[in-house]
């Protein structure tokens, strides 16, 4: 079984980091992973995305035409990638910044005001962790406890950011469980 997730948004939203944390959790779960970033001539505020491939077999192509899931943090990302998602995949829409929907009735659309939740926590930068938690809670692509461990590992040496990110993780999970 192979699953893929695209994390997409604008530069500075922590897109590449949320993908990396997911890949770390999947690796600890004993799965094969590949993390592929976009690295065009990027700039702060431009678009950024990364693809995480998770499989129980060695991964052949890390280049994927139709990914299983999408986490869209801004409007251009949703417009670009929503048509590519496989049927029954999760499409997370950051409704704080996106007013439209995926326009598909064959995917599991989850609409969460990710950026507003992060602002509510006092730091807009943790929006990526809120989204990551909500996505994992919904898709169950990895064990949530291992995701918690991976977030802890990432922020353990970054002082007060750890507590904030753990809070973001819980709020994201709650939002996913309360959705619909």
């Amino acid at each position: 079984m192979q699953n893929e997730a695209i994390f997409a948004g604008f530069g500075g939203q922590g897109i590449l980091l949320s993908g990396k944390i997911l890949a770390q959790a999947a690796m600890v779960q004993g799965l094969e992973v590949a993390w592929v970033p976009s690295y065009g001539p990027e700039m702060r505020g431009g678009t950024a995305y990364c693809m995480v491939v998770i499989s129980d077999r060695p991964i052949g192509s890390p280049i994927i035409k139709n990914p299983r899931h999408l986490v869209a943090m801004n409007l251009p990302s949703l417009e670009k990638f929503a048509p590519l998602v496989k049927p029954r995949g999760v499409v997370l829409i950051n409704s704080s910044l996106i007013s439209i929907r995926a326009g598909r009735n064959d995917v599991d659309e989850m609409v969460i005001p990710v950026t507003d939740i992060a602002k509510d926590l006092g730091n807009v930068k943790v929006a990526n962790i809120v989204a990551l938690a909500a996505f994992v809670a919904r898709s169950r692509i990895v064990d949530f406890d291992l995701l918690r461990e991976a977030v802890t590992g990432e922020f353990a040496r970054k002082g007060n950011l750890l507590a904030l990110n753990m809070e973001a993780l819980d709020r994201g999970k709650d939002a996913a469980l309360r959705f619909r």
Binding site: K20, V33, A34, W35, V36, G40, I59, G60, I63
Partner: protein, 366 residues
């Protein structure tokens, strides 16, 4: 030791340190700059040196100087930077010194683009610099294999007293995969007293070692060229590496592909197998020496109607594939450039249409 998740560029830097290479010279260029970023921090921790040259030309001569003194040294760059280093590479090959050059390829020619490409196949395998020389060229298809090849490259360079090139691409440099580092003992070049200009007192020898590539006497230079040729012939006998894939099946089409492109081909082959269609593949892990016999044998198998070289270039390796197939069946090319990596779906489409086009070919029978 457990697996760690690491970006290709950083893993390459760490692998070199673990191989015992403590001299790294480089000039930044996308998509490999993270190697320098990583080693700028890492080298001082292990008592090594990272020096950023004023240009790639300077870097190639820093390498020349370091290996001439018996140190292990390497650099990393990307296509335009490797072009600038080519003069120094030729001198190092001429002086019969070991060194490791890593090319994380990007699109070309000229400044090209910064996305993955395999456009430097000719440059790496056929020369690049001037004169009668070859590099040993290794092509990893993932981060783990890149680590293993970096650690093999130093002993191989020393075995042949010849530069080794590792030919990756932007995807391998930028991608993260779980890796383990092989067990290692940090060593020094075991045979350096034979060639290094490291001081006669140091090595308790009465014979000076002269590092040079200048031979003005034509007879002497001819003899030198023949000696180099003998080394390349020995590489072909002893150090050809390749991976066969689905080669025991009843395939009608054989793919030859390396590096990133070969991974995509593997997925395409697996998908086609599920649809009841068999496709074989030879993946060269060394591009020089090239797996000539393996490709010839696989193309000669009864039932094989066509061979296709799949590359992220407009067709470079295909010339070597044709040379190896030696008319046993038609040889075709498929590929994309500019940073576009063909998807498994596109590969499968190309394979199907090539089979249709060559439906009348009876492969090894004619």
């Amino acid at each position: 030791m457990g697996k760690i998740l690491m970006k290709g560029n950083e893993a390459i830097g760490e692998a070199a340190v673990r191989a015992g290479c403590l001299s790294y010279f480089a000039y930044p260029i996308t998509p490999q700059s993270e190697v320098s970023e990583y080693l700028a921090r890492r080298m001082p921790e292990v008592g090594g040196v990272f020096l950023q040259g004023e240009s790639e030309v300077a870097v190639s001569y820093m390498i020349f100087g370091a290996v001439g003194c018996g140190a292990r040294a390497f650099t990393t760059s990307s296509s335009p930077g490797i072009s600038l280093m080519s003069e120094g590479i030729s001198y190092i090959a001429g002086a019969e010194l070991p060194a490791v050059f890593i090319n994380i390829q990007r699109g070309g020619p000229g400044l090209g683009g910064i996305l993955p490409s395999q456009g430097d196949y000719f440059q790496s395998t056929k020369g690049g610099g001037h004169g009668d020389y070859h590099l040993m060229v290794m092509a990893p298809a993932g981060v783990q294999e890149a680590v293993e090849m970096v650690m093999m490259a130093f002993p191989l360079a020393e075995k042949y007293r010849n530069p080794v090139m590792i030919l990756g691409d932007g995807l391998i440099g930028q991608m993260m995969e779980p890796i383990t580092f092989p067990d290692h003992l940090r060593t020094e070049p075991p045979n350096k007293d034979e060639w290094a200009s490291n001081g006669m007192d140091t090595r308790k020898s009465s014979k000076p070692n002269l590092v040079k590539s200048l031979f003005l006497d034509p007879k002497e230079l001819n003899a030198h060229n023949l000696l180099l040729k003998a080394k390349y012939e020995r590489m072909k006998k002893e150090d050809v590496r390749y991976e066969p894939y689905n080669i025991d099946s009843d395939y009608q089409i054989l793919i030859v592909s390396y590096g990133t492109m070969s991974r995509v081909c593997k997925t395409a082959i697996d998908n086609m197998k599920e649809d009841g269609m068999e496709v074989g593949m030879i993946r060269p892990q060394t591009l020089f020496p090239f797996p000539e016999a393996a490709i010839h044998d696989a193309a000669s198998k009864a039932g094989c109607r066509v061979v296709v070289s799949i590359e992220m270039s407009v067709g470079q390796m295909v010339e070597d594939v044709e040379r190896c197939v030696r008319g046993k069946c038609p040889v075709e090319w498929y590929g994309k450039c500019g940073g576009e990596v063909p998807t498994p779906e596109e590969i499968a489409g190309a394979v199907r249409s090539l089979l249709e086009k060559n439906a009348g070919s009876f492969g090894a029978k004619y």
